[in-house]
């Protein structure tokens, strides 16, 4: 197991190189002259040249890349053009944590409701409950994020006045964005749990459990769910990644000052170091989460660990 963890961490190295390379090249692939765009529309040639010199754009490409990596490793992602503060500070002061908070609550909601719905569906196959839950799941999957967010605001904030319209701070602020963010995940997890559970309940060892005189509930939770969860864990990990993407839209709709909004704002302001930094942080976060998921998959499914 230890060997596996070490190997799995080693495997993230090429991914990290790819990610940093992609983020780095972004600066060079954008149409036009990055320095010119960043210096602003009214900059004179000297200012542009100064900007180019500051950004190190006159150095050979590989040198720039290694400098970028080296700086990133020490936590230096440059300064924001918009606010002149260090990018890492902008990200980690509060925004990063807000988004992570949102993603975790969203994932938790998705897992909770997804699992419950999936189990109910699987154990009552073709019943009214099963059919309605799966129809709801289908809706949850097909609804666009922003539309769902707007509808929730309309219903709970505008009409009923139960929850705040936008912003961040108290737990009441978290509810609607988390629901918006988690719905699609819940739907996917529900469908996945259902099919995985149905497959497991058909296995020989479930019949063995019944033949031992184990009660229905225990068969479902102890013998069924534990095995059914194995494929679900993978989906949860992938969901967390797409949640980060969803955060961009959700944070905009609910005016939450997280990473998503930071990206949008920075793109608008042509704040390239900021965009670069945020994307890099998101990508690293995604890689880390997936590594954790892979490792926990191993822990759950002991069979994979055979060799």
């Amino acid at each position: 197991m230890f060997l596996y963890i070490v190997r799995r961490i080693f495997q993230t190295i090429p991914v990290m190189i790819g990610v940093t390379l992609a983020v780095f090249l972004m600066m060079h692939l954008i149409p036009g002259d990055a320095a010119k765009i960043m210096a602003g529309e009214n900059a004179n040639p000297e200012q542009v040249e100064q900007m180019r010199e500051n950004l190190g754009l006159n150095d050979p490409l590989y040198e720039q890349y290694f400098r970028f990596i080296g700086n990133a490793a020490t936590g230096d992602l440059g300064n924001s053009i918009r606010t002149s503060r260090p990018v890492t500070q902008e990200i980690f002061d509060s925004r990063f944590w807000i988004t992570v908070q949102l993603a975790i609550i969203g994932t938790a909601l998705a897992v909770l409701f997804g699992l419950i719905a999936g189990i109910i569906s699987a154990t009552r196959k073709y019943s009214f409950a099963d059919v309605s839950l799966m129809v709801i799941a289908l809706f949850g999957l097909s609804m666009p994020n922003f539309w769902l967010g707007i509808m929730l605001i309309y219903l709970f904030s505008v009409n009923l006045g139960w929850l705040p319209v936008a912003g961040w701070g108290t737990w009441e602020h978290m509810i609607l964005p988390a629901i918006t963010l988690g719905t699609a995940g819940a739907a996917i997890i529900a469908r996945m749990t259902r099919s995985s559970m149905l497959e497991v309940l058909d296995q020989d060892y479930i019949r063995t459990a019944y033949a031992k005189g184990v009660g229905d509930k225990l068969v479902i939770y102890k013998h069924g769910l534990r095995n059914a969860l194995i494929p679900v864990v993978t989906v949860v990990g992938l969901q967390f990644g797409s949640l980060l993407g969803g955060a961009v839209v959700t944070e905009t709709v609910f005016a939450v000052n997280g990473l998503g909004r930071l990206i949008i704002d920075s793109i608008r302001a042509h704040d390239f170091p900021m965009v670069q930094g945020t994307i890099l942080v998101c990508a690293v976060l995604f890689v880390v989460v997936n590594t954790i998921v892979d490792i926990s998959y191993r822990l759950l499914n002991k069979r994979v660990d055979l060799n």
């Binding site: 060892y205 031992k212 005189g213 009660g215 013998h223 002991k302």
Partner: protein, 341 residues
């Protein structure tokens, strides 16, 4: 053959189990009568589709409802009809009074629980022992079924064990609460011959030691000859012959039993030329023949066989056979209808 009720641990009377599918009803078990004497071994043999496994699942009411259902009949275990029991009562019987071993040791054990936990589970349920005591008993059971270093093995997961070892764990689970009846559904089919020999020997010895009655479901006539006292031969949901093991192998009476015995290639006997065969194949379960189910493949079949279902009748030597050949009507019949060359 006159047995009092007390001598029989289990009596199955006119058991009918059907599966209801989109294409219609499959009468998987259709009027089966069987009984097992205390401490004895009954073998049920038949090919796929004969209903032998469904019979065993029906006894323990382990069918996947609502698709599979016992339509009628009684399963008398120690004087009480299991078909009439509530779900809860059945749970108390399963794994406790009657337990079961399944064919595939690979898939019949839960991959995410250790072997010890899986044995201890039924002990905890039925004997209300605490975790620690149940675990100790589980280790004892592993020792009983001949697993070396049982303490270590108890902590291992099924995938860490060989097929033979896993089947021993299955046996340990099934015998953990000292059941009066053990149903073994193809217990050695998935195993290699030398491992099969070990497992059969183990079951035999434990049966002697614990006095358990045994019901073995198998397609392997060798296993039947080795293990059983009585044999029921099944074909298409019906028992076609029911006799002592000796009678079945030395003086079989149903044409299907005879055909089956002749078509097995034997390792300890030379067969010159071709094997004798049963022509054709098992009929479609949705459209079973009207008369005797074996009639379309039977070399002796006559008019009556195609139209009227024979009863399971006792012959002169106590052998029960479902075939018109042994009836009085037979003489009155004309020529055989299946002209196979």
């Amino acid at each position: 053959m006159n047995l009092t009720k007390e001598d029989k641990i289990l009596e199955v009377k006119n058991l009918c189990t059907s599966f209801f599918t989109d294409e219609g009803e499959v009468k998987a078990v259709d009027g089966v009568d069987l009984s097992i004497e205390k401490g004895k071994t009954l073998g049920i043999v038949g090919e796929s589709g004969s209903g032998k496994s469904i019979t065993s699942l029906s006894i323990l009411r382990l069918l996947q409802e609502p698709a599979g259902r016992i339509k009628e009949g009684e399963v008398i275990f120690k004087g009480e009809d299991l078909v009439k029991k509530t779900k809860k009562q059945m749970r108390e019987i399963r794994g406790n009074n009657i337990s079961m071993i399944f064919q595939e040791p690979m898939t019949s054990l839960n991959p995410t629980l250790t072997c010890g936990e899986q044995i201890a589970e039924s002990i905890r349920i039925h004997q209300k022992l605490n975790k620690k005591k149940a675990w100790a008993k589980a280790v004892d059971m592993l020792k009983l079924v001949g697993i070396p270093s049982p303490e270590k093995r108890a902590k291992q997961y099924p995938f860490e064990l060989s097929g033979g070892m896993r089947q021993r764990v299955m046996i340990a689970i099934s015998l953990a609460c000292n059941p009066e009846l053990l149903i073994a559904d193809e217990p050695t089919t998935a195993l290699d011959v030398t491992i099969q020999a070990q497992i059969l020997e183990l079951i035999k010895n434990l049966q002697k030691e614990l006095g358990t009655s045994l019901m073995i479901i198998t397609h392997d006539l060798g296993v039947v000859a080795e293990m059983c006292d009585k044999v029921a031969v099944m074909y298409c949901g019906k028992v076609v012959e029911y006799a002592d093991v000796k009678t079945i192998f030395t003086n079989p009476k149903h044409p299907y039993t005879i055909g089956l015995l002749n078509s097995v290639p034997k390792h300890d006997e030379d067969v010159e030329g071709d094997l004798s065969i049963i022509p054709g194949s098992v009929p479609n379960p949705f459209h079973l023949p009207e008369g005797c189910r074996f009639a379309p493949r039977c070399p002796h079949a006559k008019e009556i066989c195609l139209t009227k279902l024979p009863h399971l009748e006792e012959t002169f030597d106590g052998d029960k056979v479902r075939c018109w050949i042994h009836s009085e009507e037979w003489e009155k019949q004309g020529k055989a209808v299946n002209a196979h060359e």
